[in-house]
């Protein structure tokens, strides 16, 4: 039954196992290129040599150096980390639930985290930045549990279609509360946009250093669980048969997802579709082994968000679109494609 939702390893783009580490290194190189390219874009014209100097010979009295260090660099680094986190979270969710449509945005985890952050800010005024992540984790955790519990009700259990529907309903429900809170508070429309779509505009090191450790722990945890996730993705019966305690693995993986998605939302708002699209691209390249899927996902997810953000900054220059809108433009057709061809009835 599961085999129809997956490609066999023979269909993967990289055929030889020996090539997989090399691909990872090339991917890393491409990601760094994306980072560098993104840093060169901005309203102020700054030459490549000045950018180089601003990183390796930083002069804190230079306007241009400070623009690179305090505006552009945090933005791309945040984009890469958020993209990596959401993509890895999506891959884990797809593996655990054996659901090709699973991802933090589709299953309502992002929406739950965003609502929790907005609610916290609404109640506390302007809380310390560390509170953002904690609120986001609670929101992401509660959302995951609720959606999974509701989706598992009924005879056939948590089928992909039911989980997806529950996720969509939960997202719509919670997002309307988020919007309501934002509309009734004194905040500007731009803040509403930030917490309903997700954006990298104005991210600085202060919030980054508060959220990055959680996401890094999440990424490392994901890699450590990769072998077990591969086993579960083959089917829970097989995993149990191989002597795996699936409950513990699922619990740990859920914590990792909450750290990754919650951290990502706390830093950049609910950026959708990265977690859905990146794992599918990666599976096409490397096949079904999560020990390779997860690191590749981190690279592809990071690159997707950075490229999306660049497009969002260029398209209606000098105005900016939130990167979440760009992601939706790419992600929504992909979602339809998956729902049409990959989802079993």
């Amino acid at each position: 039954m599961a085999s129809k939702t997956k490609h066999g390893d023979s269909t993967r783009f990289i055929q030889s196992r020996a090539m997989l580490p090399l691909g990872l290194i090339i991917g890393l190189g491409l990601l760094v290129l994306c980072l560098a390219w993104s840093i060169t874009l901005g309203a102020a014209e700054i030459s490549l040599s000045t950018i180089w100097d601003s990183i390796f010979a930083f002069d804190d009295s230079s306007f241009q150096h400070l623009v690179i260090q305090t505006v552009r660099l945090p933005r791309v680094v945040a984009g890469a980390l958020v993209g990596a986190s959401l993509a890895v979270a999506g891959a884990i969710m797809q593996g655990l639930t054996r659901n090709p449509l699973a991802s933090p945005s589709i299953l309502g985890v992002n929406a739950g985290a965003a609502f929790a952050v907005v609610l916290t800010v609404f109640i506390l005024g302007s809380p310390p930045l560390s509170v953002y992540s904690i609120a986001a984790f609670i929101g992401a955790g509660v959302a995951s549990v609720l959606v999974y519990a509701l989706g598992s009700m009924g005879r056939s259990g948590a089928t992909p279609l039911k989980l997806t529907l529950v996720g969509a309903v939960f997202t719509a429900f919670v997002s309307s509360f988020t919007t309501a809170l934002l509309v009734t508070s004194q905040d500007t429309l731009d803040q509403i946009r930030f917490w309903t779509v997700g954006s990298l505009a104005g991210r600085d090191w202060a919030l980054f250093t508060q959220t990055a450790p959680y996401m890094l722990v999440g990424l490392i945890g994901a890699l450590l669980l990769a072998r077990q996730i591969t086993t579960i993705s083959l089917g829970e019966d097989i995993a149990t048969g191989l002597g795996q305690n699936t409950l513990i693995v699922k619990g740990l993986a859920a914590i990792v997802v909450v750290l990754l998605a919650g951290g990502g939302v706390a830093l950049a708002g609910p950026i959708g579709f990265v977690g859905l699209v990146a794992p599918h691209i990666v599976r096409f390249i490397v096949g079904q082994d999560y020990r390779w899927i997860l690191p590749y996902c981190a690279l592809v997810g990071g690159a997707m968000v950075i490229l999306g953000d660049m497009a969002a900054r260029i398209i209606i220059r000098p105005q900016e679109l939130p990167v979440g809108v760009m992601m939706a433009l790419i992600g929504a057709p992909f979602f339809i494609y998956l729902a049409r061809w990959k989802l079993e009835r």
Binding site: G42, A43, A44, E45, I46, D60, S61, S62, F63, Q64, L66, V67, T70, V71, Q186, T188, D190, Q191, F194, S199, A201, G202, R203, D204, L207, P318
Partner: protein, 331 residues
């Protein structure tokens, strides 16, 4: 309940009333006069006593003319952004936000005149007009000067409130104040100096600045006193270009006048980037304050000129009777 029935009754009456004098030839009933606004012409009572003002500029205009409105929009925002010499009365009712005021609350106030802006009331104009005769003005006319629009609208409101003499006096005083300011700048040898006028704020924790273009009313005011706008972007509909931090790359040394809430100003001051800007290094950055309203009426205009002179450390020639004092005496 009784109140509600009463409001509904009033709405019906007024609806009927407004329908009956919405004719083209604008012969108003006795006790009413025709006043020109952005919608054409409206019949308003000859001496309105209960005025609701839904835009801060018109609140300010009404107060300047010595009338306390019965209802206004967003009092908190008004106090944050607008500073004129006349205080808003304590019993003035807050009817909600400027773009989506509470219509029932307005109806309950039983106003005989509502003043609002086209920018915010295009959607609810009909509902407002059903409550009371409603004057709607456009601060951003497609043609002509925004400053001239401001003075014309002020005069129109003065006419509608039956206070034309007071209105003229206030405008006279404003022009006189501009002239005095110009003389003072000349004496100080600073006539013709360049400036950039900005409004700064935080947008999802990032600094954003509106830099005012030549067609902005506030820029016109500062040019009238003899300063020269250094921000040479093309004229914008609302009179400003919005830039992020990177936009400052284009700005050299100039007198940088900016308006911002205090918390936001502190945020700018703490940023390392701030210290690298040419006008900051040359000590030409001037925080005018939080409540200098750059889109206001004659009194806000005087406040702007006043704080600008103070920032440049230029004193007005004769200090015995400041316009502020006159305004206070008038109220």
């Amino acid at each position: 309940m009784k109140q509600t029935i009463k409001s509904v009754w009033i709405i019906c009456l007024l609806l009927f009333g407004s329908l009956s004098h919405a004719q083209d030839n604008m012969t108003c009933d006795t006790g009413f006069q025709a006043v020109e606004d952005a919608t054409g012409s409206v019949c308003v009572p000859e001496s309105p006593l209960r005025v609701v003002a839904l835009e801060w500029t018109y609140m300010e205009d009404v107060l300047a003319l010595g009338v306390q409105p019965v209802g206004v929009a967003d009092i908190e925002g008004y106090h944050n952004w607008v500073d004129i010499s006349i205080e808003l009365g304590e019993d003035v009712v807050d009817v909600g936000t400027r773009q989506a005021p509470n219509l029932e609350l307005i109806a309950e106030l039983e106003p005989d005149l509502i003043i609002t802006s086209q920018l915010r009331s295009t959607e609810n104009y009909d509902e407002l007009a059903a409550i009371a005769p409603t004057l709607m003005f456009n601060s951003y006319p497609p043609e002509g000067s925004y400053f001239v629009e401001m003075t014309n609208t002020f005069s129109t409101i003065a006419t509608a409130l039956n206070r034309e003499v007071e209105g003229e006096a206030i405008l006279e005083e404003m022009y006189q104040y501009f002239e005095d300011a110009s003389t003072a700048l000349e004496t100080a040898g600073r006539l013709g100096e360049g400036f950039i006028l900005a409004q700064g704020y935080l947008q999802s924790e990032a600094a954003v600045f509106r830099l005012f273009t030549d067609n902005a009313m506030a820029v016109e005011i500062l040019e009238q006193i003899g300063l020269s706008n250094d921000w040479d972007d093309a004229p914008q509909q609302y009179g400003f270009t919005t830039i992020g931090v990177e936009g400052f790359a284009e700005i050299g040394d100039t007198n940088f006048f900016f308006v911002a809430q205090e918390a936001d100003r502190n945020f700018f001051y703490e940023a390392d980037l701030w210290g690298t800007l040419p006008f900051v290094q040359n000590e030409h950055a001037y925080w005018l304050g939080a409540d200098i309203w750059l889109f206001g009426g004659p009194l806000s205009a005087k406040t702007l000129v006043d704080t600008t002179l103070t920032a440049l450390n230029v004193e007005l020639p004769q200090a015995e009777m400041t316009p502020e004092a006159t305004a206070e005496a008038g109220s």
